[in-house]
Amino acid sequence: MSLPHPLARIVASKDFRLVVLIAILIVVFGSLIGDRLFGQLGLRSMAYQLPELGLLSLAMMVAMLSGGIDLSIIATANLSALTIAGSLSLMPAGDGGSAAALWEIGSVLAGLAVALAVGVGNGLVIGYFRVSPILATLGSMTLVKGLAIGLTHGSVLSGFPPAIVFLGNGSVLGLPMPLIVFAAVAAPLSALLTMTPFGVRIAMFGSNERAVRFSGVDTRALTLRTYVLSSFVAFFAGLVMMARFDSANAAYGESYLLVTILACVLGGVDPAGGFGRVSGLVLALVVLQIISTACVVLGLSQFLTLAIWGGILIAVGALDAASAGGVFALLRSLVTDVVAPASASPPTGASKPQ
């Protein structure tokens, strides 16, 4: 069997239709409110907002790739941010200097340790006690958030050293720091998931758990490491959130929880596990962010944004379901027949990317 023409393969991929969607959005909104949406201010606000949801979605994606789900990511991010904030508030007063810098680094590491501990807990319960991921992380989400509320009584901790505030609000060479942090997490994560045995095994595990176990992989340890990785990414989300708001709270970003799942599925992550790429997720995030910022510019309610996001997911799902007669199948067959008639056309419906 000959491989399909590279161009046909690109068009058939889930990433391609997101690119089309982005192009449509740019044309539509560009003609309506282009100067404001894609002006300096619009792009700037997009670049500062996308990383929060983006980092949380990456954390969710790791778990979904393995066929699981991690509902505790936001609680983890917040507890980790509160740990950093609490530790910073204990910093002995005095002149700045290296002692203060050391204390700051120690605080961040303490926050990281807390996040990893939650990940280990999730991984143990899911991998070794065989509790289903949705149940286990529902429990740990309640527990971790409860711990954060119990310790802080729901209050906001604020006022951080310049280094942390810079992480959320500064920019380097015109690039906002949150975006740099996002890229610095997303790119290595993408490499990890596609190029290392550990990363490939996560997706294989999501695709066929039994086959992975029978091929000699310790699936319990693999699950443990998957959820530690998810929490590790959630830690960066917590760090960026606290830096951007210059404060930490047990309930920040809570409404994002279900949106991260929405973003992952829109980005082509299979909810049943096994398939999904960071590139697709990033494109989906761009789609969501353009819609969100456009709604702000148009003066529409932020809740309407949520409704449109949900509508987009249903619409994409409907396109998938009707792919036999859908727009993308049409585009696909156009490209395969007109541009690359010599190559074998991929069978419709059987063209799962990866």
Binding site: L71, L138, S140, K145, G150, L262, L306, A307, W309, I314
Partner: protein, 330 residues
């Protein structure tokens, strides 16, 4: 007989009964007023909304699906029905009908989309939750309704006994609704043909389809039932809280999901009993009420609930694994 007894001893319900009973004994020793009639009636009233939703969600879980959108559905039904009630004199029947109709139709939309899109039900209902909640908040601008018709706020109370010291004990709308949905859900799952089909669908969807069950119809039925109950529960809740708040319900749906799983619904579908669901609700209610009575700061109630959920799911998973190992042929 002995076999049946052993079967019960190994079941999820047995563990729930044991844990709940232990908690009840400990609490009533520490705080004698825990077992007072008044406290139990109060508990039932305040958990009526959650309880009704847990029972309906249980049906969806048994069918192998999940619904995340019920809180948004309840918000829409509640807001619409009581907005109309504030302008027109539609009475209890009118309010109930409007809420039920909105809940049912949104539920049917869920059922249709889950079947037609072929996507995981959790994904579809997250999307519909976003759509419904987003639109409701856009239209209402997130404003609460505090003034409700007088006949509505008065509610329904039947005093059934008066204690010697003059305290009246009454049965109210919340208790009736909770008990009614318990009875209806039990009858539905255990005494009707469609209820058995729901179990079969969750147990093995392919087999159910090949036998000739109308899977589309069953989907419409379970999600429709969930929507209908969400609509009715929203009225029960509005009567209890004496207000309508479009932002109060969404965001807390995972509590309901947790209670349903605690009650023994399998993540894979096909299993679970109404008794278990009732015990799951009771367990959560008793823990939260018990902590309040013990004087634990409400700031720690989330943490305690989380600990109980984690311990319970780990214990139940170990139990299930043991049964799996002991079962013949494995």
């Amino acid at each position: 007989m002995l076999k049946a007894a052993r079967g019960f001893r190994q079941s999820q319900e047995f563990w729930l009964v044991m844990v709940t009973a232990t908690l009840v004994v400990v609490l009533s020793i520490l705080r004698p007023n825990f077992l007072s009639l008044q406290n139990l009636l109060d508990l039932m009233s305040s958990y009526a909304y959650t309880g009704m939703l847990v029972l309906a969600l249980f049906v969806v879980l048994i069918a192998g699906g999940i619904d995340i959108s019920f809180a948004a559905v309840a918000t829409a039904a509640q807001y619409a029905a009581l907005t109309v009630a504030n302008s027109y004199n539609i009475g209890w029947i009118g309010v109930t009908l409007i809420a039920a109709a909105i809940g049912l139709s949104l539920g049917l939309v869920n059922g249709f989309l889950v079947y037609a899109l072929g996507l995981a039900s959790i994904i579809v209902t997250i999307a519909t939750q976003s759509i419904i909640f987003g639109l409701v908040l856009t239209i209402t601008r997130g404003q609460d309704i505090f003034s409700l018709p007088e006949w509505f706020t008065r509610g329904v109370d039947w005093t059934f006994t008066v204690s010697p010291d003059g305290t009246e004990y009454a049965i109210n709308l919340q208790m009736i609704a909770l008990v009614a949905s318990l009875v209806v859900t039990w009858l539905l799952l255990n005494r009707t043909n469609i209820g058995r089909q729901v179990y079969a669908l969750g147990g093995n969807p392919d087999a159910a389809r090949r036998i000739g069950f109308r899977v589309f119809g069953l989907n419409l039925f379970v999600y429709g039932y969930m929507g209908l109950v969400a609509g009715l529960a929203s009225i029960v809740l509005a009567q209890y809280t004496q207000s309508v708040s479009p932002t109060a319900l969404v965001g807390r749906e995972l509590d309901v999901v947790a209670a349903a799983f605690l009650g023994g619904a399998s993540v894979l579908g096909g299993a679970g009993s109404v008794l278990g669901a009732a015990l799951g609700i009771a367990l959560l209610a008793i823990i939260q009420n018990g902590l309040t009575l013990l004087g634990v700061s409400s700031y720690w109630s989330g943490f305690s609930t989380g600990v109980v959920i984690v311990v319970a799911v780990v214990a139940m998973a170990r139990d299930a694994r043991r049964r799996w190992r002991d079962s013949p042929g494995m």
